[in-house]
Subunit: 389 residues, 2 copies
Amino acid sequence: MRVLVLGGDGYLGWPTALHLSARGHDVGIADNFVRRQYDRELGVESLVPIHTLDARVDRWAELSGNRMPTYVGDLCDADFVHSMVRDFAPDTIVHFAEQRSAPYSMIDQQHAVYTQTNNVVGTLNLLYAIAEADRDIHLVKLGTMGEYGTPNIDIEEGWLTVTHRGRTDTVLYPKRPGSFYHLSKVHDSHNIEFACRVWGLRATDLNQGVVYGQRTDETALDPVLETRFDYDHVFGTVLNRFVIQAVLGHPLTVYGSGGQTRGILNLVDTVECIRLATENPAEPGEFRVFNQFTEQLSVRELAEKVSHAYPGRCRIEEVDNPRVELESHYYRAAHTRLLDLGLVPHLVSETLIDSMFSIVEGHKDRVNLDAIRPTVKWRTTASELAGTA
Amino acid sequence: MRVLVLGGDGYLGWPTALHLSARGHDVGIADNFVRRQYDRELGVESLVPIHTLDARVDRWAELSGNRMPTYVGDLCDADFVHSMVRDFAPDTIVHFAEQRSAPYSMIDQQHAVYTQTNNVVGTLNLLYAIAEADRDIHLVKLGTMGEYGTPNIDIEEGWLTVTHRGRTDTVLYPKRPGSFYHLSKVHDSHNIEFACRVWGLRATDLNQGVVYGQRTDETALDPVLETRFDYDHVFGTVLNRFVIQAVLGHPLTVYGSGGQTRGILNLVDTVECIRLATENPAEPGEFRVFNQFTEQLSVRELAEKVSHAYPGRCRIEEVDNPRVELESHYYRAAHTRLLDLGLVPHLVSETLIDSMFSIVEGHKDRVNLDAIRPTVKWRTTASELAGTA
């Protein structure tokens, strides 16, 4: 299949492009490199050095014989999106190309507006481009489990059958997300569902959990092919942060009591989920939602797993929660549809955590500990950024 | 109370400002006049000539002794919003200042992106301005009944108590709207609910039905105080369009079979609903939703009422439905919360329709019949605009 990966220079987009290419698909990559720009804005860097997209693509072509064409541009530029879609003529578009950090969206008014505008307008332009170029193109869109929030009822996969006053309907699962970033994904989901309804588009919305890990079979082939490893408080995800804190002898900082339960998954499962969604497309007019995670754990349980796996001393410390979220809540989310398509999960294990320790050991001179302290506070409207100090 | 009416130069914003001023509130008005600009873009005009905002405000000051300060600017300009909110120091902000036409949002990609950006960013800027200036300001935001779509279960007022797999929660009512415009209001609702949760703001989301009528006690005092009367297929609402068609001897054009049922209300009830919401504010942190309409009728029933009231010959004609919507569906929506606050509804009656006939008679030489034919088609991505021919 011809697969266009939007945001293909990013943490997950790059390994996904490699994985699909390795599995025989014709892959194209689009990016505007704004993720690299956020690093400069925040004064932080990926723990693992990353190479330019050109260098990555060249090395992959040498190793695999597959050259992935690249499109450099912004999804908010409608002309760019239209001409790219017509030029590449994809069967599937995998859409990672959004601002993906909750704290980034909560820095201040400008970052909130940027996040919602960038994400919503980019996706709108993409929907129009698909509707105009070829309504048969399957859109595989990255959403987030954070769209749901933490309801007191079971979370289903995108739709909920409700009986109310004796009548029944299947409705979009009600959302109550926890940041302007998460809200942007809720807006996207509503817009995409509408496009499926009026234009007959086919879409899969992947409500992904928190991703951890840094290596896949393909990125491990060569240092030039490695993907990002972020640990800063804005873009770093929780397990990756804990591993770095452990190696540096820093306490594992849990926000509040750590009772927040979330769905998580390994990077190697992310790329496999994308492949499964791509190779098993939604029907015309179908807005299909998969909850893309493999296990659910509380933040404290994650910290304990890392602490237990680490051979040296390792302490867990509760810090004031910068977010507004429940720290003790019911959480049970369905996640069977990707398993039904054949996903074989890699659960978090000491072996995996050990391998992450060794990645950090190799680069620990690059760590800026200041970047870990959370300075973006949900209850204020303008936060300082420690990383830029 | 000090009440700032955003979009106070528009069809509903202007009569609302007058009504609140007449009831003794200190009213300020903000507008960027983009509604007048849409007329020029579409090549149409309000049936009733409208005067400049300055002339209207001057005449009201002469008649009432109350001068309403005006702020000319765009809500997408964050600095403008912040300085206006600090300068006027309102107790309540009534927010009408959004692009409010579903067909306008469905013209093409640019109009869809404009509608969502304009509405969502304007409201985000307002939420930040309130959070920074005074979190006690009550936001009264105009939403639409169209946010809900036409579910097969009863529509409640904003929230729904769901029992699922033996557990119960009260969740935001699931939305499935029918245009990019309606979607922009859904996005707003989610953003506002979040702002109430994290910043403790107080907000009332008024999910309003289709408004008809053109006169209130205050606008009837002087021709300079009249409000808009739109009949074109982009901005004209259904009952107003039917009345004009009847007077002109044109068939009343029903989209499809006309079985679409909607909540409707008279302009005089709109301004009263806003007063009631303003004088009975939401609690700090509360995201309160009222369904703002007084009766529900199908489009065909509305056409029959107009046809019956009209003294001359009047025919009803089904035209191809340009929209994607169910033409036969269950519809039952709660609307008791404004009645509980004291609303005394003015239901659609022959007397009212007669008074509308006489307004049209007085201006029928201004009608451009070409502007009535619906040319914006939901299933296409780029529509012609008859009005601009």
